[in-house]
């Protein structure tokens, strides 16, 4: 599960060297916005070498490439194509472009004889992208969709607020589309790396709307994001009781049953299962708080 995806600038060796120690579920090595035009070549080489030669175990590795209109996409893909690359994160995504990206990726995979297809996580960060969310969600290669709040609000010519009310519609749209397609819904990064309270509230909002994870632009944001997405201990306890009662009910061939005076039926059991799954609870144990 991609609860935390950490952006790492692709032209920063010291950050790359330590990127794997923070416990992110995935690393997005950035060749796009974090890298100046004059640094693109250096970043491409550095990220390519990292993917191919880093010997230690890492979280899932993704690369944010430059989009087709930049003219740099194919050079990016040539440099980074290897079996260690899980997916590309594709900026300012639209349906037509993604079909073309799929075609290019197929050629690259063939040329480099990759053992598995490279996935795509498109960034929905334009009004057009939001409108096309439903169509995008069913494209091949998709592992999830990432909301890009900064570019989206710029495209809409609206302000970006700490509370994020302006993102309510695209968030809801993206979360539903991802759920329907069975892929991850990843929320936009929170820009103020010093505002832990704001980040916590923002991540909780995303979680409440059905997002499965959130991108981070600084390692210090990961703990807060995990906290926001981790089920509340009270909910875990409730879910465990529901599952225990459901097992009893199953033995008695009951479809629905009562717990604490409230009716428990299939959707409620499914929610309890989801809570335990997100909490990583196995064998009925409550996990320790993770730091």
């Amino acid at each position: 599960m991609r609860t935390t995806l950490l952006f790492i600038p692709g032209n920063h060796p010291a950050m790359l060297q330590n990127a794997d120690v923070f416990g992110a579920d995935g690393l997005i090595l950035d060749l796009e916005d974090a890298v100046a035009a004059t640094e693109k070549d250096a970043a491409r080489i550095l990220v390519g070498e990292y993917l191919k030669s880093w010997k230690l175990e890492t979280p899932e590795l993704l690369v944010r490439v430059n989009g087709l209109p930049s003219g740099w996409l194919e050079s990016d893909l040539e440099a980074i194509a290897c079996d260690r690359l899980s997916a590309i994160v594709y900026p300012k995504a639209g349906v037509e472009e993604l079909y073309e990206v799929d075609r290019i990726l197929s050629e690259i995979e063939k040329k480099h004889r990759l053992s598995h297809p490279i996935g795509i996580i498109p960034i929905i960060e334009s009004a057009q992208g939001v409108v096309e969310t439903d169509d995008i969600s069913y494209l091949p290669r998709l592992k999830g969709m990432l909301l890009g709040g900064e570019d989206l609000t710029a495209d809409m010519e609206i302000g970006r607020t700490r509370e994020g009310a302006e993102l309510a519609y695209p968030r809801a749209r993206l979360a539903f589309a991802c759920k329907a397609a069975g892929i991850d819904a990843i929320d936009t990064p929170f820009a103020d790396v010093h505002d832990t309270e704001g980040l916590l509230a923002d991540a909780r909002t995303a979680r409440s709307l059905g997002f499965t994870g959130k991108a981070a632009i600084h390692p210090n944001q990961l703990l807060t994001i995990r906290t926001a997405f981790r089920p509340d201990p009270k909910d875990i306890l409730w879910a465990r009781r529901v599952m225990a009662a459901a097992q009893d009910a199953a033995k008695k061939h009951q479809g629905a049953f009562s717990l604490d005076g409230k009716m428990i039926d299939k959707p409620v059991v499914k929610r309890a299962e989801g809570i335990l799954s997100r909490a990583g609870v196995q064998d009925g144990a409550i996990p320790h708080e993770t730091k």
Binding site: Q17, N18, V21
Partner: protein, 502 residues
């Protein structure tokens, strides 16, 4: 040449670390109080005229003004003007502000240095072999012991004292150059043959003096003893650097899992950004569980003052102040206690120094080796960049000593087969916390047992070294082979290691 018990080669004439030796030398009897009231003078030149100074003498200084100290430079400039040569200086530490001493070293005015820490141009000059005799690098507690035992005999102590009264009593708590506690000046005051207070503020009366005027020979008033902003040298802010924060979180979790956070515990941490982050995490745990610490000791920062004032820490045992908030706290918080260097860390202090009452200490490292020996004296090329300070004292005294450091710094692995220089012997170091794992000294089987099932990533120290090598490759480490430029003296007076020029 012979080897000490940790395998380091030493020149003859010094007691090797680990060698059996007769019981510690009996303490010297401190100088008697001066028979007359101190004489007040208005220039260092007058002081030099009044003292019978000769070539070859030893002058001591303290470092409470840290990188803002003017006194050592002014005194040694006067010594140079008077044509004195072959002097040894014994400051408790030397900082970049002491750059003016370098030409004096080059011209033979200063030929010996005994100190606990040096960083900056003087350290560079010593590393380059410009000092005629090998410098001696003590620990904070070891310096007090050496003075009291007569191993370090001081002819004149020139002590910067921010405020002095008409009887010669001194304090660092008030005055335009207030720097707080003067704990490192205490052995000099009582054991130097002559004591000179150098001040920039004289008042009628100091109510609670830190330094007793009865031991003072001369008080000299000069325009300024230092720039007090310089005492805030080094990092005194909690790191925002994510690797440092991860190490700090893991160190706090380790301390907790080791069972050290219980009502009435005691602790010491350094003033580096990662150490301060460890304290912040420990504070969070204390608040969550309603725990209180009995005391915190060492160099004191604003962070500890806040914990004292929040009722989380019972008392602060303060041997020096690392920032101006700590200085201010001394005058308003009775539980903020000043202690002397001997009381803090001398192995000869009875019944026991403060460091012996510590449950845990969190320390840094420039290098650490497979035997858990730690280097904070030199960089990887053997250039002097620091020194023990209280490192070896607290590591020895505390029930658990925790070293926190990045596994890789500036593309160099910090864990290695053998450190370039041993500052603190591995027998005193219990745990290493890095961003890629925690190693416990195998001699602490009790800790290893406690940490089992804690969820912490505990691995053998060799595995950490190999992990580092996977990232950096195995570096070639040319060992300096020039002449010996410094001796690292353990707190008991034995020699741990030497530093050689290239």
């Amino acid at each position: 040449m012979k080897r000490n018990s940790i395998g380091r080669e030493l020149p003859d004439g010094y007691r090797p670390y680990g060698e059996e030796h007769p019981a510690a030398a009996s303490q010297r009897i401190a100088m008697k109080p001066t028979p007359t009231a101190p004489i007040f003078l208005t220039s260092l030149s007058d002081v030099f005229s009044a003292l019978e100074l000769r070539d070859g003498m030893t002058f001591s200084f303290h470092h409470h003004l840290r990188d803002g100290d003017f006194v050592a430079n002014l005194v040694m400039a006067e010594a140079d003007r008077r044509g004195l040569r072959d002097l040894t200086i014994a400051p408790s530490s030397l900082f970049p502000c002491h750059k003016p001493l370098v030409p004096l070293i080059e011209r033979g005015v200063i030929t010996g240095i005994v100190t606990n820490y040096m960083n900056g141009p003087v350290a560079d000059a010593v590393s380059a072999g410009k000092l005629q005799k090998p410098a001696i690098m003590d620990t904070h507690g070891g310096r007090a012991r050496a003075i009291e035992a007569g191993d370090l005999s001081i002819d004149v102590a020139f002590l910067a004292v921010p405020t002095v009264d008409r009887r010669g009593n001194g304090t660092g708590r008030v005055g335009k150059s207030a720097c707080g506690v003067l704990g490192y000046a205490d052995p000099d005051l009582h054991y130097a043959k002559k004591v000179v207070f150098v001040t920039d503020e004289i008042v009628e009366r100091v109510d609670h003096p830190d330094l007793d005027g009865n031991f003072v020979d001369y008080v000299v008033l000069i325009p300024s003893i230092g720039d007090r902003a310089g005492i805030v040298s080094g990092t005194t802010r909690i790191t925002r650097e994510p690797v440092g924060l991860k190490i700090a979180r893991d160190a706090a979790a380790l301390i907790d899992a080791a069972g050290l956070l219980k009502e009435g515990f005691s602790m010491q941490t350094g003033a580096g950004g990662t150490s301060l982050a460890v304290v912040a995490d420990i504070r969070r745990i204390m608040v969550e569980r309603g725990l209180h610490a009995r005391f915190a000791s060492g160099g004191i920062t604003a962070q500890y003052v806040e914990m004292l004032e929040a009722g989380l820490v019972g008392s602060l045992r303060d041997v020096q102040d690392f920032d101006l908030d700590a200085v201010a706290s001394l005058t308003r918080n009775p539980q903020h206690e000043a202690i002397t260097a001997a009381q803090y860390g001398s192995p000869d202090f009875r019944p026991a120094p403060v460091v012996a009452g510590l449950d845990f200490v969190v320390l840094g490292a420039t290098e650490i080796d497979l035997d858990f020996n730690v280097n904070v004296t030199t960089d990887s090329e053997g250039r002097i960049i620091g020194g023990s300070g209280g490192h070896a004292d607290t590591a020895h005294g505390a029930k658990v000593s925790v070293v926190v450091t990045n596994l890789v710094k500036a593309r160099l692995p910090i864990v290695m087969e053998k450190v370039t220089c041993v500052t603190t012997p591995g027998s005193d170091v219990d745990v290493l916390v890095t961003e890629r794992g925690i190693a416990v000294n195998p001699k602490r089987a009790d800790l290893l047992d406690r940490l089992r099932g804690s969820g912490l990533n505990v691995v053998p120290i060799r595995a950490l070294m190999e992990l580092a090598h996977t990232i950096t490759g195995v570096p070639v480490r040319p060992r300096p082979s020039g002449r010996i430029v410094a001796l690292v003296r353990y707190r008991d007076g034995s020699i741990l290691d030497v530093v050689s020029s290239k």
